[in-house]
Symmetry: C2
């Protein structure tokens, strides 16, 4: 079959370690399923600031653009936290989303059986929780005009939140389609009782809804959603929302599963182009010690196979391999009950690769 190009961005902290294990899995999948991949590594985030003076070098963007998909480890760390805006890893993250047109962030929040005790929620509340937050990723207050000025009452700062119907339509359509392939429930989250952008959002959702008659739609105000996620997490299927609300709610949803260290995410652009990364951060405190859990990154690769390449067999095989290794009781230290029996990052990668 055709050779697929994957841009690989290891990033900072534990990024290189977890990405290396995902690449191991990538190789095995090639052998087992006969798919062909070409990987190209690129610098991004803190390491790019250190080595190239910018979090998002132009050639990194070129490598990403010429690839079919991007695999990202993690970026950031205290080392760069006090840098000026242009020299911060987050600025690279926002830049790459915009430059690659990654308008949709898919954040599945599922409960791993072996981790359900790790949640701070009662098990009976968590039971059956399997939701997906679809977050708009290139609009809203993240990318609107920002400024400082002198006002009547001293210095003032301004952020602008802008959405146009085209932006709202494409993300809402995607959410309806995803919901249609799942449990057919969509919660559209906004603050339509206060924000004009939310009123536009809700109008678009209501206009499109009749085209998806099999999907049950509810509108939920963002403050109420923050509560309902806690009260009845398992009743949600797909949640679609704008950029800032999605940032907050997807993290809340991930945390309540107790499985945050194991969750994958996809940031999708036009067509099937996507950037895949674990939900967890760069964890600089444990970097380089073989303590990191590579599962979220490996599952991000599985998501890439499914969503960008349509290699459902390989995606399912990776997911099954992860489940098998976990079922056999293998744990990295972050998820081990008995830390003394914990295995290393590379051991976990080897076991999953072997199980495929």
């Amino acid at each position: 079959s055709e050779v697929k190009k994957i841009a690989v961005i290891a990033g900072d902290g534990i990024g290189p370690e977890v990405v290396a294990e995902a690449e191991k899995v990538l190789k095995v999948t090639e052998e087992v399923f006969g798919y062909k991949f070409e990987t190209e590594h690129a610098l991004f985030g803190g390491i790019a600031i250190d080595e190239r003076g910018t979090p998002l070098p132009e050639d990194t963007l070129e490598i990403c653009r010429s690839a079919d998909a991007v695999l990202l480890g993690a970026v950031g760390g205290p080392k760069w936290d006090n840098n000026s805006k242009e020299l911060r890893p987050e600025t690279g993250l926002l830049g790459i989303r915009k430059a690659l047109g990654l308008f949709s962030n898919l954040r599945p929040a599922v409960v791993f059986d072996c981790l359900k005790d790790a949640s701070t929620l009662k098990p009976e509340v968590l039971e059956g929780t399997d939701l997906m937050v679809v977050r708009e990723l290139t609009g809203g207050i993240y990318f609107g005009e920002k400024l400082r000025r002198q006002g009547e009452h001293g210095e003032e700062a301004v952020d602008t939140c802008v959405y146009n119907v085209t932006e709202v339509e494409r993300i809402v359509r995607q959410a309806f389609e995803i919901a249609g392939k799942r449990r057919k429930k969509l919660a559209s989250v906004d603050k339509a009782n206060v924000l004009e952008t939310s009123r536009l959002w809700r109008e678009v959702v209501n206009r499109l809804a009749p085209e998806y008659p099999d999907v049950e739609l509810e509108h939920v105000l963002v403050d109420n959603c923050a509560m309902q996620l806690l009260r009845r997490p398992s009743s949600f299927d797909v949640i679609v929302t704008e950029n800032m609300f999605g940032d907050i709610l997807s993290d809340e949803a991930a945390m309540l599963t107790g499985s945050i260290g194991m969750l994958a995410s996809a940031s999708m652009g036009e067509g099937s182009y996507g950037l895949y990364e674990p939900v967890h951060g760069s964890a600089p405190d444990i970097a380089g010690q073989g303590l990191a859990n590579p599962i979220a990154t490996i599952l991000s690769l599985a998501l890439m196979f499914r969503l960008t390449f349509g290699y459902e067999d390989a995606a399912a095989a990776i997911e099954a391999a992860v489940a098998e290794v976990l079922d056999a009781g293998h744990r990295t230290s972050d998820i081990a009950v008995d830390k003394s029996k914990a295995i290393s990052t590379t051991q976990m990668g080897d076991l999953i690769a072997a199980a495929i």
Copy 2:
């Protein structure tokens, strides 16, 4: 002693029922402690829309302005949900905050012993949770310019988030002071890695911090705060944040206590002026049936005594009376384990009044 004026706004749904019980308690406190109050009732919210064609009639504002404090039941309901913006109860709520200069919303989130099982969080996680969200209430994206316009990609909507240093300073100072009287920990929540208003916010917090050396300060990003509230609720003392983030986080914090039906809130203006209201809504589904729980409104009155009038004795007496009645096993149906033994709204009010 001097006569204090209280504007009483019953509002919609269960508002009139719960406010009536708070007034009962007010009367008893007068008798027991010798304080003198004059109450004046005013129309607001849905009922004002129905009777006067506007959610916030001018004479209601006059009554509030000439009072020392305002007691509010609840407003809103499905009846007015599809009205145009000017004819919605929420618009009245935003209007009254702005008109009375209520710039600070204090939302204590505490766990009531008798309700800790009602939380979806594990009891051991909840143990010791007692936090206060200090939310900026008259600035930010709630009150910035809003507009619709034709853009390149079809119709677009704009919301503007503005903060000036004066606005940030007064709320942050208040939060530092409140923290100083509590467990001396302040978490300032922002999104300084993305928003200019958040960077201004953080600068102000850092500039003021040295004036409050006994208060331990941490900066928490809003997405991380949504997670940490779930992971370690008891580690928070005071959380201060801007309007939109505060809306979301205060509801999340309230819900995780399991006690949302019993929580009071205060919206403070300059000096000791304040508007006090229960956190719960107007619950139109149970209105008029004697099923509502008046405790949150009664505790809002206690908060008024403490914060506006400095009547600490009366505030403490009300709180003790509530605790006594709950300890004796009395429950309204919302918090009763055995619903058949539940008492009515007025019975609960009578018991608390009698216990003072």
